[in-house]
Amino acid sequence: MRLLIIEDEPGIAGFLKDGLEEEYFAVDVAYDGKSGLDHAMTNEYDLIIIDWMIPVISGIEVCRQIRKSGSVVPIMFLTAKDTLEDVLFGLEAGANDYIKKPFAFEELLARIRVQLRSKHQGDDSLRAGHLNINPGTHQVFYETSEITLTPKEFALLEYLVRNKEKVCTRSRIIEHVWDIHFDSDTSVIDVYITFLRRKLEHAGCGNLIQTIRGVGYIIRES
């Protein structure tokens, strides 16, 4: 899952990036409204966190612009403004959630996961056949046995399972699993897919990830 953080305070952006990357998210940071908006328009993010008071373009305006472009990406406001009017104003501008500074990192994480849940999902856990993924604890179970994955393998599997029954192209996988500093050599995906398949096979679910030749990969439940 790839996130964008638009926050001018380096201290906050810093620990957010550190903490979220430890949670297997790919994180990009923009330090002002304009570059944040540029990022949001050019890359595909699974969630955007915006500070309200940022230089050049205000957070509210960035949020409005993103919504105007037709994007429905979940947007969370992060701000020291804490009056009821501010909260309402922020939500009306198109934000999905609003979290006040200072906040607990765990709460932020939980709220991010809520935003990433799909419509049909009652809780955070993801399923594909007998495969069960818990993004909160980063555990993967096949029936009852646990499969140990590296962060990147986990992120890759999570993305594929979230988009099960859909073909995931290599470029989309790159977009959502790696951050902006990754140079777009898509062959790295094939390497990680190989690692993943080996581990899954070892656990007993060999054919979960299928290759669509020349395009990408797909997970089919049947």
Partner: protein
Amino acid sequence: MNREVKHVLRNTAIRLKKWTVMSLRNRIALYYTIATAFLIALVFAILYFMVESIVYKQFDDEVNNEVSEVFADAHVTSHDFTSFSRFKTFIDDTAVNSSEAKKDPKEAAKVDTEFIQLVNTEGEVINKSNNLARNVLIFKPGETKTIYFNSTINNSTIRQGQLPLLTRDGIIKGYLIVAVPMKKAIIVLQDLETVFLFSFPTIILTLFVLTRLIAGKSILPIENVIATAEKMTQANLSQRIGLPYHHDELYRLASTINALLDKMQDAFQREKHFTADASHELKTPLAVVKGTLEVLVRKPREREQYENKIQFCLMELNRMARLIEQLLMLARFESNKINPHIEEVSLPLALEAVTARLQPVALEKEIELKVTGMAKATVTADSAMLDMILENILSNAIKYSPAASVVTITVEQKERKIMCSITDQGIGIPEEKLHAVFERFYRVDESRNSGTGGFGLGLSIVKRLADLQKITVSVKSEKNLGTTFSLTFPST
């Protein structure tokens, strides 16, 4: 007794309360009506008495005519009282007129003709005209001059004249009383009275209603003021009173209140800004420290990583401590609870202390601190506060100066006032931002993390401290040439 007094007092209080809650328009109408009522009453009274006196004057003339007729008929004058008996002729003469009376001697006096009566000094009737029949005209004894008065006969009003009859020696021997009926005149006077009595309350009532209406109309702008003020809340000071068309007192009242509201709104806005800024400035480092530590303890890490993060947090905390200190200082100075200890201070000495303290910082950037001008200058100030002002301005100058430049401090005398200017060679402050530099949390460089480490409170503190000591602070700046802060001290 006591209870009665209490009762009266309570009643008075209630009445007073009613009076004080009376609306302005009613009061204006009431005052106006009372004043006018007095005037109208006066005019009516004057009119009435004028008419009355004119009427009486006419009747008095008639009485006089009658008297001269009597004398003419009798060939006598009042002085020639010796021929008193010759009045008989007159009596006989009038008797012709009263032939009707003779028909019925018991008939009461007819009141549409004049009556004549002669009395001696004792008031005994000597002779009278027949038309008086059994009636007698009223006699007022003891009068030495001709008098006129009203009396009644058979319930109708008559005007009487009473003329003393004198001998040549001036001795009153008797009186000639002549009376004329006043029937029509009295009706006129009574009508006049009725008209006045009825029209008075009508006029007053109409006047009250009209004045109330007009007063209500003319104080309409006040109603506007009230309506606007009622709509106003602390959060919404944007309402303004509509100005009346006429440039009168109410116009001035409305515009004065509007101006006051502008000021209030401005102050309120600034306060709101300040609170928002302060909350942001305080919450941000708190959020940074909290978040950093929360992320840090989520997983076991290398010793080096712990040390780095804790160092980082300590830096943030130090910054926060500095901010809190400045905020508290500002709050203390702004609460006006601080009394400056004003004394005579040597400005060059104060400058020397500050420059010496800031020399290491300046040296780091290879900045020269040059002090020029008067070597001796005494100003009145609080030395500790002056020190704080100078340090703030000077450290600002050093902070915004490019490396290897000069900061010039000049002490001079202008129009008997001592002035101290601190000039840097920095990039300057744009003109449109110059006015705001003394505002709290204002930074010319808008990005909050410009690396200069300031909060935008230093100059606010300077301004506040200067105000306390009646020192004028001003700033002027030229782009790319530098900024000058000037302190003008009060003349000693």
